[in-house]
Each structure stands twice: as C-alpha cells, then as structure tokens.
Symmetry: C2
Subunit: 203 residues, 2 copies
C-alpha cells in the first residue's frame, strides 16, 4: 500500500486505496448525473479506469457502491436485503420495522432525515436517495405482492416508515422517541403487515 | 366601523375591527411567551383591554382564537371537534383520516408542513403548533381511550398523521399524493383504528 504516495499522472501505479477513492468519486458523479437506476457498475468502472471486478471486490454490490458513494452506513444494503430474504411475506411487516429502527437507532446520521429536513441545495442527493429507496424497497415490496393495488400498498409502507422516522428521530414524540425497538416492532409490525396484506375497509 | 381611522392612544373610541386586531396581536404575544396551555382567554382579554366576552364573540373558543392568531384556517377547530363528537370510538380512525385529508387538501397552506420543513427561526411557532396538536388531539384521544397504553396509542396516531402528511403533501409519493380522500380513508381508517383499539402483536 502506498497511501501516502502523492505522485499522480497517467500510467502511474495506483494503490488499492487510490483506486477505491477514484471509483467512489466517479460513482458520485455518474449517479448524480444519471440517477441510481440508469447508472451501471460497468459504466462507473469504465469511467474510473478500473475493471468492474475491482468495483465488486471493494463494494460487493451496486447497492453497496451507492451507499458508500452517498456516505450511507455500509450495513444498510445487507439490512435491506434481509427484509426480503429473512422470512415469509406473513412476517415482512415486523422485519421492515425492526430493520428500520435498528439501523436508524445505531446511526448517528439517520439518512431519512435528509428526506424531510434537507436544504434546497441538497435536492440532488435527496432525489438520489429517494430513487434508491423506491427501487430497492418500495418497488421490490410491490413486486413481491403482485396484486393490482400493490403500488398503493407499498406506498402505505412508505407512510409508516416516514411517520415513524419523523416521530422518533426528528420531532421526538413521546413515548415513540424513547420506546424500545421491541415495543415498537410489537405495535408497528402489524400495521405495516396490514398495509401489505390486510383487507381495505370497504372490501 | 372606522377601519380607516388611524388615530390612536389611550381612551380613544375603538372600532370592532381595531379591537379584533388588538386581541389577535395580544394573543400572538402571550401564546408565544407562555405557550398555548398556560395562556388563558381572560389573560389575553385583560392585556388587550377588552372584556373576555368580546374575545368569545369574535373567536368563539380559545381554540378559535389560537387558530386565528397563528393564521390557521378557521375551519380547523370545528373539524377537530367533529373527530370527538361525530361518532363512536369504533369509527374514530376513519374520522381522523377524513378530517385530516379534507382540511389539508383544501388548505393551500398545509399547517403541518410547518412541523417538518420549518426554518430554525420558526422554532417558536413550531413549538406552539405542536402544543396545540398535543392538547387538542393527542391528549384528548388518550383520555378517550383511558387504557394504560393510551399515550403510546395516541402517539401511534400521530405517526399516521405525520406519515400521511409528509407522503401526500411534502414528498408527493404516488399513488398516495393523487389518491382520492375516500380511497385513503378506506385504507388508512383501519390503520388509525388499529392504533387506538387493536391488539398488539404479542398479547
């Protein structure tokens, strides 16, 4: 490792740390220009002058690269994955609430805060994060349901996530703000489950 | 009426419009200094130099005076009242969702937006509005329930209100943003009802 080597220029030997930083910088630029969905790992690798395999070596997945590029904790993408792979549709409500709260409780940064408190200058990062959440959570929930009202049901889950985030971390409404994760999972798990699989009032 | 009379000073004859403005100005000052709960109509009337009966004549209730003072639409206090007086506990979820959406849909101002997007300089009006909502909605819902977990249940209703407001009016998440009030009442009425009267998962 030559992390303290400050020489630069074409054809120079690059350390792993330098390549990683270059990939991250390129990822920020391309995600910012084209959005999350329209930007491929292959395009980022090409623009950064590295092999795609190196991107996967450092960041494992496109989600992992994105989360590193926008400074989201690296634990978030595997946590999101566990919502979908950790059990049945019958218990997904509980997993969503637990995953959300465990990740935001331990993060000092509360990424979703950006969605509701961000300055106008952060509009681009807000749009990027929204697109990530839409694709990686909302659209996948809707696809998992496969019902005609799946988009509305997945959006209702968004309402729960937003409401809980604002109440616990921004407005600090009691007793939501100081309740244990277990107590909130106990209460909000069934609500989220109802959003996804419950019967509407008039049917 | 002498609305265009610009003379002032102690002992001058005051028009109704002048008295009303004076009451509003005094109300803003006292609510701002002491909060919503600790400020009485009697104290506002005394500080404004009018009889309390005149305050009730213009604003009907303390809630009405408060809503006028913070520039909330005058339809909001009676709408809140209808949540509590318009039917049984079994159907209160539906009434909360319908009242919220009908009032915010027709208001160009969406008062709750202040709660999540307000600038730091609006901290005082934010605190005042929160106190109003706590006392006039949350505390009354909790009192209506009377269960040991009533405060948590009422706060869960807050989560629904916040989430729905942010999703429909601030982030404009589809299909929540363009759904009809009836469709949202159909979906969110049972959720709010569950918050208040449903069984938690572990009991």
């Amino acid at each position: 490792m030559t992390e303290h080597d400050t020489r630069s220029g074409p054809g120079r030997w690059r350390s792993g740390a330098e390549s990683k930083q270059r990939i991250l910088q390129t990822a920020r630029e391309l995600f910012g220009q084209h959005g999350y969905g329209a930007t491929t790992v292959r395009a980022i690798a090409a623009a950064a002058g590295v092999d795609p395999a190196m991107v996967f070596y450092f960041f494992k997945t496109k989600q992992g690269l994105f989360s590193a590029a926008i400074d989201m904790p690296g634990t978030v993408p595997p946590a999101i994955e566990s919502i979908f792979t950790g059990g049945d549709l019958d218990t997904v409500g509980e997993r969503i609430v637990r995953t959300l709260l465990e990740n935001l409780d331990k993060s000092g940064r509360t990424p979703l805060v950006m969605l509701t408190r961000s300055a106008p200058s952060d509009a681009q990062s807000e749009a990027l994060l929204r697109e990530f959440i839409d694709r990686e959570i909302t659209d996948r929930l809707a696809a998992m349901l496969g019902t005609p009202d799946a988009a509305l049901r997945a959006a209702m889950v968004n309402v729960q996530i937003l409401g809980l985030t604002v109440a616990r971390y921004i407005m600090r409404i009691e007793p939501i703000a100081s309740a244990s994760v277990d107590d909130l999972v106990d209460r909000f798990g069934p609500l989220v489950q109802y959003c996804l699989t419950g019967q509407p009032a008039s049917s």
